[in-house]
Amino acid sequence: GAGVSQSPSNKVTEKGKDVELRCDPISGHTALYWYRQSLGQGLEFLIYFQGNSAPDKSGLPSDRFSAERTGGSVSTLTIQRTQQEDSAVYLCASSLNGYRTGELFFGEGSRLTVL
């Protein structure tokens, strides 16, 4: 597609359930980022994938959070045993590093509400 695509756009779940959030980056972009934005707050870095390198997971807040990127393209962020404090907008961004400026292109986000 033309831009970064995220799904679902909205997800309401019950505390303790697992959720999966999907990100489809811009074709050819080698770098993919996940950020979390709580209501009225800035962006919290979660994880970064660059090509085939090992991902930088330093921002994941707990072991309930994990992410993978299959075939260097689509990424899935999984949150296990969701808690109310996980409620936030999860933003995915991709970048064409190595050739251009590294500017990030963001998806519209997945709004997660944990009841």
Partner: protein, 109 residues
């Protein structure tokens, strides 16, 4: 660890006035970005600054970068209501992109 600090975090200004938003960062980097976020929307790229002394302008916004001071500024000239949004700076260190907390700008008539 790369840290990015913005100030002010909240800015309310009258139309027609000028103001500057500041972005400081903790480690050497020569790639800095400014993004805009409208309420309920995602982030949109405004400026890409790739070298010391870089200056970019778009309409009433002008961004500059001083890599020696580890400082970028976003200057607003003669503000208009349409500029109301949250502005984020982000610093790229070895392709690791970290964001400031954002400056929520409100421009009042």
């Amino acid at each position: 660890e790369l840290k990015v600090e913005q100030n002010p975090l909240f800015l309310s200004m009258q139309e027609g006035k000028n103001y500057t938003i500041y972005c400081n960062y903790s480690t050497t980097s020569d790639r800095l970005y400014w993004y805009r976020q409208d309420p309920g929307k995602s982030l949109e790229s405004l400026f890409v600054l790739l070298s010391n002394g870089a200056v970019k302008q778009e309409g009433r916004l002008m961004a500059s970068l001083d890599t020696k001071a580890r400082l970028s500024t976003l200057h607003i000239t003669a503000a208009v209501h349409d500029l109301s949004a949250t502005y984020f700076c982000a610093v790229d260190k070895n392709n690791d992109m970290r964001f400031g907390a954002g400056t929520r700008l409100t421009v009042k008539p």
